[in-house]
Symmetry: C2
Subunit: 393 residues, 2 copies
């Protein structure tokens, strides 16, 4: 039986793209992982999560191991609502859906909003996993470059004006990571935030705000777009993957009620009650603000170590942007194809992500690469940059 | 901003259906739950799962709390492959995808195989959650009745013949629960199993075999369709929700490689590494065959208690089918609208699921209801049936 003859046209179109998750080869053992956007191992609250599981099961027995058993599931949602309110996002329970990490949220949004005729605006560069998700639903993109102040909204306006003038289809969705952007580390300026909201209203598109790193400002974080979103075009997604533990798969999407209803309609994996209830217990026993302080200081420190090492060990033709939060530093190495460099780097014991994977058109970004200071420890960060420096001499 | 104006046509069509999960009102406290298809609380291995978490985190520390950290994720997959092989389903790692329960598997399959022009064959009655999933993607169904020997394949053949004769579109997918069917408890006979496989080849459709209850035969279970599927039209799904704990959300889909590749392409919630690694540890420390024996004996016993209570307390015009495994008994109460009966039953302290929810056309099934013997304890089962009997006197 020829199974792929059963796939509808839209699926066949999606399957013509590059396979998902192919951006990194397997890493050799003991490789210094400057590629991984993972939390620092020491910051994962392993003991606390273990205690949360033990407490939960002692208190509720089999309840959280059933489908919808634990009252803690509702409590987790309350806690996330409170957390959002502290960042000036005021939504009701009907405007919030818990998801299996931010990725499932992006996927649900794509499913509910996109068909193969929909145009999506993406930042260039942007989070590769989001690009892959969107490409499952549409092949129509408008790519707008990022600079040190985030998305270039004047360019976006020019493109929209031009499309309207020519009678071309207008986009339905903009995907942006306005705060501590992946991969560039940049943050959208206050003026551009207002500008993009104005454009959304004027040109009638929704904004998908990916706020995965929003709480991880070294000093302070700007308010999310959703907090200044009077006309309601913003769909806000976040997760505990960067601040607690990605393996717990706790994320959410907040937005207009009709939209959240539609997402919940298509979310058919049922509630992962065990992990949600465990996370509720963990949050209940944790001073989250203290935790954030620790995270911010640690990552700030590690970022400083990375930048100092780069200043010391990398040749002059290498340049970068110094982030004010998040996990990443975006680097340009003039005249070097970073995909080729990666092979040599892996042999020498250090990894990074070649820049091209963050671009819609992978002919771009060849001279760029993304370094993560979140996962490797400080000694390894210095060692890794020294290796990289040697390769570039 | 009017958010639903952004929904594509296919989404608007889906949202015209009845909202999902509306088949049961909230149950009053202390209600005897003969509605819930949950495992018996005493059979949920709470202590063992707690120990598995503790062992896992002591052995691997933060590893299973990262994205793909734990080697146990691969181990879980190996264990499921072995489990399938014991039931004569021989597939490779590339032909198996782990999912967040069987529901996510059904949803992925629907996404990859259906568009709004696709016809799906469903059993009548069938699992309501599956109906809801399919209705998100297509409104075109062919409904074939079930009798005590399962799907009436002769009727299916007649419909297919007729459609081909008239030049009408042929279905692309059949959804079946051949073993210990939900809600009827019936099992498809050996002849019909062969017949439906022959029809799939002759009329070129895929068979989605939902085997959620397949291991829970009171005496023995027939081989799954996938085990006798020489021409490969069967996609097999299963889960540990009925045999270990639904809150862990561990399920899978096994089928042709190209098909599993496509499903993995659309599975964008990333691996829930914590629960998968925990389950791998649990299975490693558990004698699964012994566990199954305990489950089979316990549910057999509880089913007997339910049937005896029905014989004793229900009036003569009530009839039912005695299942040989699974969780459910399907009951017909001549001349009674079970949706109306439910309100009275809930007030009196017992719940069931009205039959109509298992039918595509909810004008059917009014005289039927589904009782579950899995969740309530034996005393409560008797008490619940006595209450029901009183209501019917």
């Amino acid at each position: 039986m020829i199974v792929d003859s059963f796939f509808p046209r839209k699926i066949k179109a999606a399957l013509k793209n590059e396979p998902p998750g192919m951006w990194m080869p397997n890493l050799p053992d003991k490789c210094i992982r400057l590629s991984s956007g993972y939390p620092a191992p020491a910051l994962i609250p392993t003991e606390e999560l273990k205690a949360a599981v033990v407490n939960l099961l002692e208190e509720e027995h089999d309840l959280p191991l059933h489908y919808l058993g634990s009252p803690k599931i509702a409590k987790l949602k309350e806690k996330i609502l409170k957390k959002l309110a502290e960042r000036d996002i005021h939504v009701s329970g009907e405007e919030l859906l818990m998801t299996s990490g931010a990725c499932q949220a992006i996927d649900l949004i794509a499913r509910v909003l996109l068909d193969d005729e929909t145009f999506v605006i993406v930042e260039s560069p942007t989070y590769m996993e989001a690009l892959e998700i969107f490409k499952n639903y549409t092949q129509r993109f408008i790519s707008i470059p990022i600079d040190q102040h985030g998305l270039q909204t004047d360019q976006l306006e020019r493109v929209l004006e031009e499309r309207r003038g020519k009678g071309l289809a207008l986009p339905r969705l903009l995907y942006t990571i306005p705060t501590f952007h992946n991969p560039t580390g940049t943050t959208m300026s206050a003026e551009r935030r207002q500008h993009v909201l104005d454009l959304a209203v004027k040109y009638n598109f929704l904004i998908l705000e990916d706020d995965a790193y929003g709480e991880l400002g070294f000093e302070k974080s700007p308010l999310p777009l959703k907090a200044i979103d009077n006309d309601g075009p913003v769909i806000h997604i976040g997760s505990l993957s960067k601040t607690v533990a990605p393996g717990m798969r706790i994320g959410w999407v907040a937005g207009a009620r009709e939209f959240i209803t539609a997402c919940s309609w298509f979310k058919k994996d049922l509630n992962p009650s065990f992990t949600q209830a465990t996370m509720a217990v963990f949050l209940d026993k944790t001073n989250y603000e203290e935790r954030l302080k620790l995270l911010r200081n640690t990552y700030h420190d590690k970022c400083d170590v990375l930048i100092s090492a780069m200043e010391k060990f990398l040749p002059e033709y290498v340049s970068w942007f110094v982030p004010k939060g998040g996990y990443f530093v975006w680097i340009k190495i003039r005249g070097v194809d970073t995909s080729l460099l990666l092979n040599r780097a892996l042999s020498a014991g250090v990894s990074f992500v070649p820049g091209k994977h963050f671009f819609l058109n992978q002919k771009h970004g060849n001279e760029y690469l993304r370094l993560s200071f979140s996962y490797a420890d400080k000694n390894d960060i210095v060692k890794g940059i020294r290796i990289l420096g040697n390769l570039l001499m």
